[in-house]
Amino acid sequence: MTGPAGSGAGDGAGDGAGIRRVVLARTDSTNAEALRRLAAGEAAPFWVLADRQTAGRGRRGRPWVSPAGNFYGSVALRPGGDAGQAALRSFTAALALAETLDGLGLDPARLALKWPNDVLLDGRKLAGILLEGTSQRGALALVVGIGVNLASAPPPGAVEPGAVPPVALAEAGLRLTPDAFLDALAPRFAALEAEFAARGFEPIRAAWLARAARLGQQITARLPGRQITGRFETVDETGAVVLDTPAGRQHLPAADIHF
């Protein structure tokens, strides 16, 4: 079996169809569930998929509203390498999502990636990704949590002022169940993960940059207690967003990006 057709940079080495899946009617958060299973010693990789989340979460405690019909899944990994390398899965996951959507027939020109891992459809937020990692018995454990608005999106007023407005895939005429979406996503993610293992970050970085939103334009990075505006120059080899500012070039490993 091969992954869905797409711009696929992968070589098919990692067929994700065989990856174990845990499917739950509801859970607090698929990330939390996946981390608990890793802590209990379950063999990785595996996916946790839930119909609903009762405590879905985004970055820094932001809730991720999780009604039935949308995709809530986390892939659990025990990545080799250091924590900085592990965090580069942000880009792998965002790219896997975009390539999955290509494969489902969406026009790639309608999709863009917002640093580091938001997936935008027609400039609106279709999907969010939050990774959580820890060290368990001296080895890294990592979960990549992915939320995709398949059927519905929160009303525009429900997101923070200044945030990218949300959109659902159904609005683009594509209707998929979470299971069917994972059938397409899991092999795509596995193929990119295999490519990352074989060739490192560079091909992922290049493919991500080719789909980057606002590359070369002014963007604002919000950090705790300050913000930096500059021209979005690139993403460096560590994954940091690089802004060209009047005060010089700044490499930022963590920030909220605003357009």
Partner: protein, 163 residues
């Protein structure tokens, strides 16, 4: 434990000067004593400048106002050399932003004086929207917290001292 020599003194002073600039402080006073119970006392002050942001403060949840802020047995962010070489130092596994609380407004993971068990999350380092929970490498007592909530940290930077 490293002996202070002239070079490290100069580095330490340079680092303090950088902190003054970075945090718009007008004064910083540091008293360190090495020995059995190795203490660090810090006092920082900021003249009449307002905008209390990222100012080293005695406790992670406490934000000092513009007035002089006496701080007992707390720490200077990114204090050079000594904390990193402390045998009880817990260091950052990556470049990123450090958070002392699971989310804004929540209680801190740990405070100075807390006893922690091995594996307990003591803080989070974020990079690329990856939240890395930093576990205590062993059981012990939190002696110092060396970073501010939301401050940038480098790979290997000392985060807290656990004894």
């Amino acid at each position: 434990m490293s002996k202070s020599d002239h070079t490290s003194d100069v580095k330490f002073i340079a680092a303090l000067a950088a902190l003054l600039r970075e945090h718009d402080l007008s004064e910083v006073e540091v008293r360190r004593s090495f020995g059995e119970d190795d203490t660090l006392d810090v006092r920082v002050a900021r003249g009449t400048l307002a905008a209390p942001q990222m100012q080293p403060a005695p406790a992670p949840v406490h934000h000092a106002a513009a007035a002089p802020a006496p701080a007992a047995a707390s720490a200077v962010a990114e204090a050079p050399e000594d904390p990193a070489q402390h045998p009880g130092a817990v260091t950052s596994p990556m470049v990123g932003t450090a958070y002392l609380q699971p989310e804004p407004g929540a209680p801190a993971f740990v405070s100075v004086g807390d006893k922690v068990s091995e594996g307990q999350t003591v803080l989070i380092i974020e990079a690329m929207k990856t939240m890395n929970q930093i576990p205590a490498p062993r059981a012990g007592t939190v002696k110092r917290i060396l970073i501010e909530d939301g401050s940038p940290v480098e790979f290997g930077a000392p985060l807290l001292i656990l004894e």
